[in-house]
């Protein structure tokens, strides 16, 4: 732990910024200075670009950066998941080689976890990794890979042992994406966007020193990644643009980076149902006068109020240190699905036959049509509603687990062809 007082930190950060911060630098040059100065990730250990700060100490740094409009290190896409996982579970050699270029933005990363044959059941994955002449040879297919089309590296889970129970035969790798054995194809979704990719690995190669956490320990490493993912709210979250009226080369390049990163996710607000558009549309079209529509709008308002109050109550309980189990995350996620579906239903009632339209000439410049065909994603992405219901019923209501058909050696478990 670093003993610096919050006042000392304020003084030191400002002095350092006065000395080093220059909006006319290139984005990469600025970030190199920032990382080497130790102010990029002050909560990290001092051995690796940090200062051993507590969250409270780091918050002071973040606040000053924000006030002065200082551009931070690269955060978009899954790179932060890779960085935090390597920091937590990697060895010193891996940390020295990989962390710095992640922070400076030189290297972009993707996450190679889900497979066509294992979605909810991630530990049922069947991408194969074999040690041949001191190198890992990878064969298999991954899917739903954000940013894979421009990633330099990927965090990869693959099976190294088929004769032990499924969680025990998984290993965690860092794979170089620019190699002949790796092919990335965009995956077009039902709403026409392609926000993700499929990644095909055919005799792709991973160096022996890029195994993280040891052979067969991949599930523990992956769980670290997943817990960061939950904390960060998913890799697909979009980042805001440049705030305020700042000028300089570094801002231009930063803005461009964010625009590219956010582009695949412009439809994300629509998958949540655009509740914000419901009342204005209902009033504008006069649908608010229709008794049946009014009933459905009222139901939507009820759900939304219930969800927000219940989540606030859960948060208050958590803060007061109550032992009562409140699965705020799972209930909140389930609520988001119900609310999104009801919002889509109400938008349909408001549009009536006009809901047949799509594109810029349709309601709200096409946003309503996009709501109607994007809402099915909300109850699948980041853990299906069914998985959330399992979590709620087992952890909170302590109902018994479903009987399993996937114990014993992985080789013997029935799986997708």
């Amino acid at each position: 732990m670093n003993e610096m007082s919050l006042d000392d930190i304020t003084g030191e950060v400002n002095a350092w910024l006065d000395e080093n911060w220059d909006p006319n630098l290139s984005l990469e040059d600025w970030r190199r200075i920032l990382v080497d100065g130790g102010w990029a990730t002050p909560h990290w250990p001092s051995q690796f670009f940090g200062r051993d700060f507590t969250l409270e100490q780091s918050a002071v740094v973040a606040r000053i950066f924000n006030e002065r409009g200082v551009v931070p290190v690269a955060q978009t896409g899954p790179r932060r998941l890779a960085a935090e996982t390597i920091l937590a579970m990697g060895n010193d050699d891996q940390k020295s080689r990989y962390l710095r270029p992640i922070l400076t933005g030189e290297h972009s990363w993707c996450q190679l976890f889900s497979e066509p044959g294992s979605g909810s059941d991630l530990a049922g994955l069947s991408t194969k990794a074999q040690l041949v002449d001191g190198r890992w040879i990878i064969n298999g297919q991954k899917v739903w890979n954000t940013s894979a089309h421009h990633a330099d590296y990927g965090i990869l889970v693959a099976r190294t042992d088929w004769d032990v129970p499924k969680h025990q035969g998984i290993s965690f790798f860092l794979i170089h994406m620019h190699q002949p054995g790796v092919e990335v194809r965009p995956l077009k979704q039902m709403n026409g966007h392609a926000s993700f990719n499929e990644v095909f690995m055919t005799d792709a190669v991973v160096a022996a020193e890029d195994l993280v956490g040891g052979e067969g320990n991949g599930w523990a490493v992956a769980k670290t990644t997943l817990s960061y993912e939950r904390r960060l709210g998913g890799v697909g979250r979009s980042f805001g643009g440049v705030q305020g009226d700042w000028r300089g080369r570094v801002y231009q390049e930063y803005e461009k980076e964010l625009t590219i990163a956010n582009e695949p996710y412009t439809w994300y607000p629509q998958r949540q149902g655009r509740v914000d558009l419901v009342l204005p549309r209902a009033r504008e079209t006069g649908a608010i006068q229709d008794p049946a529509t009014r009933q459905e709008i009222a139901r939507l308002i009820c759900m939304q109020k219930g969800a927000s109050l219940a989540s606030a109550a859960a948060e208050a309980k958590r803060k007061s240190g109550s032992n009562e189990l409140v699965p705020a995350g799972s209930i909140g996620k389930l609520a988001a699905s119900v609310i999104a579906r009801q919002a889509a239903h109400v938008h349909t009632l408001i549009s009536s036959a006009d809901a047949m339209r799509s594109g810029p000439d349709s309601a709200e410049n096409g946003l309503v049509a996009e709501v109607l065909i994007s809402v099915p994603a909300i109850s699948i992405a980041g853990g299906t509603d069914e998985i959330q219901r399992n979590i709620i019923s087992e952890r909170v209501l302590t109902m018994p687990k479903e009987m399993r058909a996937d114990t014993g050696p992985f080789r013997d478990i029935k799986r997708n062809e």
Binding site: K305, G306, A316, R389, M403
Partner: protein, 365 residues
């Protein structure tokens, strides 16, 4: 505005819950629901004088403890959980709030302390239980004489005092008379939920004392207070059903495993938990709003609609998940099922309340 219960309020809930868990066990509920009066006068006396619940929400000036809708909500929630059988809702909540909102100072000073001690059982006579907008059409008062019929009055057969809202030549008035007054006829009505006693009350030119004026706005406000208390009753019942049903699925074995291990049941229990949590949060919020005189103008209707839908859903699931045993008289679930059904429509259906929500929202938009 309050956003969560204080430690004192949580402690108060403990006291209420301990009393009711002892004095309102299902076997007692069954005995009382089969009886004509439907309540145990000894328990009622204890509840009023020893525990002091009947005086909770009345101002100290009228013999009360000076608490408000939040503490009343706690009582109602626990009463709903244990299906307390007694004239609490009719006398303390319905008649009490009508008097507080619109009776003259003199009437409040003479009636409320008696209701607060439980020595007087009163009830509120409304000629329509569906919507505040429809009240005052069949009961009319002209020159000190009351006429007309109120087909559904809660606990009228147990009351000594009737507080009546009646239509006047223009507007509404609040009236008071004794149940044994000349021209008053009270007839028990067979109730679907026999834990809540109902009677029809008719007046034939009955001599009546006017104790206050009621504007339509005031009636809407009284309705809000009643709905929020009733919503608490309902979420208490829903919470009980959720808990008892989940417990049952853990001990009932079919196909060699507890039925609670089947996802078809687990997932529905998870959904139910979510709905109960939402209805509880909104209902508690509604009481906080009333206490602070703040918040959404439609919050009471929102709470009533959500609590009603959730209670009914819990009741249906509670029976369905028990299978055949859930449909028997011997099993207790039907007590809550019937409570849920009668509460669903008492003081307005969920659809009426959603419509009322929208009207109130659009008025202020």
């Amino acid at each position: 505005m309050q956003t969560e219960y204080t430690e004192d309020q949580e402690a108060f809930r403990e006291v209420v819950s301990r009393f009711l868990s002892d004095k309102s066990q299902p076997a007692m509920v069954r005995e009382l629901m089969e009886s004509e009066e439907g309540f145990d006068s000894q328990v009622w006396q204890q509840l009023c004088s020893e525990v002091g619940l009947s005086a909770t929400h009345f101002p100290e000036a009228y013999g009360g403890f000076g608490f408000g809708p939040v503490e009343l909500g706690i009582i109602a929630e626990e009463m709903g959980r244990y299906i307390y059988c007694g004239p609490f809702f009719a006398s303390c909540v319905m008649a009490g709030y009508a008097l507080l909102a619109s009776a003259s100072e003199e009437a409040k000073a003479s009636l409320l302390p008696e209701i607060a001690t439980g020595s007087t059982i009163a009830t509120l006579v409304l000629d329509n239980l569906n919507s505040p907008a429809l009240v005052g059409e069949s009961l009319t008062a002209r020159e000190g004489r009351l006429s007309g019929n109120a087909p559904l009055v809660v606990d009228a057969q147990n009351a000594s005092t009737l507080i009546v809202i009646a239509g006047e030549a223009s507007g509404l008035g609040l009236y008071c008379l004794a149940t044994d007054a000349t021209g008053v006829q009270i007839a028990a009505v067979e109730a679907l939920d026999s834990t809540r006693k109902l009677a029809s009350v008719s007046f034939a030119n009955a001599d009546v004392r006017k104790i206050g004026d009621i504007s339509r706005n005031t009636l809407e406000q009284i309705w809000d207070y009643l709905c929020v208390a009733l919503a608490h009753e309902m979420i208490g019942g829903a919470q009980h059903l959720l808990e008892s049903t989940v417990d049952y699925t853990k001990v009932r074995y079919q196909f060699g495993r507890p039925i609670g291990s089947f996802q078809s049941l687990k997932h529905r229990c998870a959904d139910l938990l979510m709905e109960v949590e939402f209805a509880k949060a909104v209902t508690h919020h509604a009481a906080f709003c009333l206490a602070a005189g703040d918040g959404e103008p439609y919050v009471a209707s929102m709470a009533k609609a959500m609590a009603a839908d959730t209670y009914m859903k819990a009741a249906k699931e509670a029976i369905q998940m028990r299978g055949g045993i859930g449909f028997t008289w011997e099993e207790d679930t039907h007590l809550w099922y019937k409570r849920a059904k009668s509460s669903e429509v008492f003081l307005g259906t969920p659809a009426m309340h959603r419509e009322r929500m929208m009207s109130l929202m659009e008025e202020t938009a």
